[in-house]
Symmetry: C2
Amino acid sequence: MRTRSLRMSLPQVGEFNLIQSLRRRYGQTGRAVLCGIGDDAAMVRASSAHALLITTDLVAEGIHFNLHTATFADIGYKAAVANLSDIAAMGGTPQYLLASVAVPRSCTASNIDDLYGGLMRACRPHGVELVGGDTSESKDGLFVSVTVTGCVEPGRALRRDGAKVGDLVYVTGTLGDSLAGLRILTRKGRRQRRTRGREGANPRYVKSLVDRHLHPTPRLQTGLLLAHDRLATAAIDISDGLSGDLAHVCRESGVGAEIEAAAVPLSDACRAYAVASGVDPIDWALRGGEDYELLFTVPPRNCSKLGRVSQRSTCRITRIGTIRPRAFGLRLRRQSGRVTQLADSSYQHFRAARTTPREAAWSS
Amino acid sequence: MRTRSLRMSLPQVGEFNLIQSLRRRYGQTGRAVLCGIGDDAAMVRASSAHALLITTDLVAEGIHFNLHTATFADIGYKAAVANLSDIAAMGGTPQYLLASVAVPRSCTASNIDDLYGGLMRACRPHGVELVGGDTSESKDGLFVSVTVTGCVEPGRALRRDGAKVGDLVYVTGTLGDSLAGLRILTRKGRRQRRTRGREGANPRYVKSLVDRHLHPTPRLQTGLLLAHDRLATAAIDISDGLSGDLAHVCRESGVGAEIEAAAVPLSDACRAYAVASGVDPIDWALRGGEDYELLFTVPPRNCSKLGRVSQRSTCRITRIGTIRPRAFGLRLRRQSGRVTQLADSSYQHFRAARTTPREAAWSS
């Protein structure tokens, strides 16, 4: 099996299988490693009371962004948020950031300054300090690789592998906004806006969706509240899309799940823009990555406590489904009552060409 | 000054000035940060007795390597060593590694497996565990960004900023080998071998130089010995070239230095290949980066202790010069007795086109 998969091309294998294969072959670790490859961040024991969290995410020009639709400051901001969000999904407190950038010669010093300005704009509200990095030339395209460290009490950390049958599935905020914002930013989106009804082009909606795409909010406060009160059995941040990220939690926890389409929280802006684009907004919520909301599971006994936490939280918290046995698989109950398999339609690197958010849009 | 430099192109500003500018603008940190931007690794207080070291380095196709002269395993190995060497230069113990890779679709799963195999080959002898990373598609070229964490006792850590006037300057191993190996690997090098004397093409020398280029050794044991016995006042790893890395130590410490050319340790292989190529091997030692040897400064009172450490060390340790007052600048005393300013001839990203090792060779 291993040998066969190694002979395959990357589009045949896909990102998630590749990561699983690397994890099996190289991810064996000792007892000090509490979480290795396969969670939002690595968690390693630092003392009897504290664990160190480490996460790294890179963004590549033409894949995650392009310079026609995002400024250097936007790119820096979002690269930082992708990592801060991983710390949020572990219930941790972020502390330090390092940024490695590979920059084409065509860029100016001012561009790089803007990029770092964006990184710091994301970090400052959370007291995260820039402590290092690397600066290199790139022959083609801008690459930004960010590492963030943080801390958490090991016993309170949120992991992907703790969901239990009967737990309720929740998400923060609203889903699909980032993909809608991306569509607006791309030429394809712009053409659609010209030819469709006015509703989708409502300037207030457009601004809000584009802002959600370029400047997502890492849900650090909610992650901390969940961890502090030990309310959640599992958590992940939605960076690939609800369907894919739910699949990660279910695989790691050895469970299935049922999601109620009608419960998935959608913003008015996303709903209006999707309708104007002739798309079911649920599809954007399921496959639209980069919302950087948290998806987490809560045992029924903690639901009333969660209600109180929800009042203290700066973002909306919505129940969208239930954890089922593994054999149940992942299913979506549509508003009509029809239940379908919930296919993983989220973004995955290397997948054979098809319309995925980042490929279709950011690379245009 | 700031505004003027921001308007400049990257080749005008140069890598080192860019980093200094980013450090001034974004590198202000609180008291828990013992070293931020400007040392080999960030050092942050973890407990009363320990500090966390974090370093990140990226390598880019066409800049640091190309796939005609290095295998995926070579690239992975060296990307890990660049980071392990930073931990060595701080006198620390490396612990965990995370790897972010951006990979063109043309690569196979086997290529990526080889890359990780190379990373792990560098890590295993030092007990460093792979705990996470990120895998992304790249539109053009392979990018590998590695983060390594480690630990050190803050009071024993080696920093760049502690060199004092009168300290003696030492290096581990031999210098210039990596650049010589790089020359052999490139077509330019191959052409020279064909047209020059046999000495340079001695197969044993060729193999040893190429191996030094592709598989450098991080000097972790020596770093630990220096830190443990508090022998060195400052240290850095030679990743840019002796002239540039010495300049970093002198700038951070506010001192000058005098280097004796005759004392710079050269391998027989490097010397022979340089002579056959019509080049002064000292020039390769001064500007050849990626030797990943340690450069460090030792007060005269510690020299006898260093002699004893040297006997326990797995690598040669050579005195090459003396720390002088800042006003002295950086000078090179040639064997003839002639003293010249020691210009920074080491590799620097973005510099206006000229023959620098990585540009001339790896990009060919």
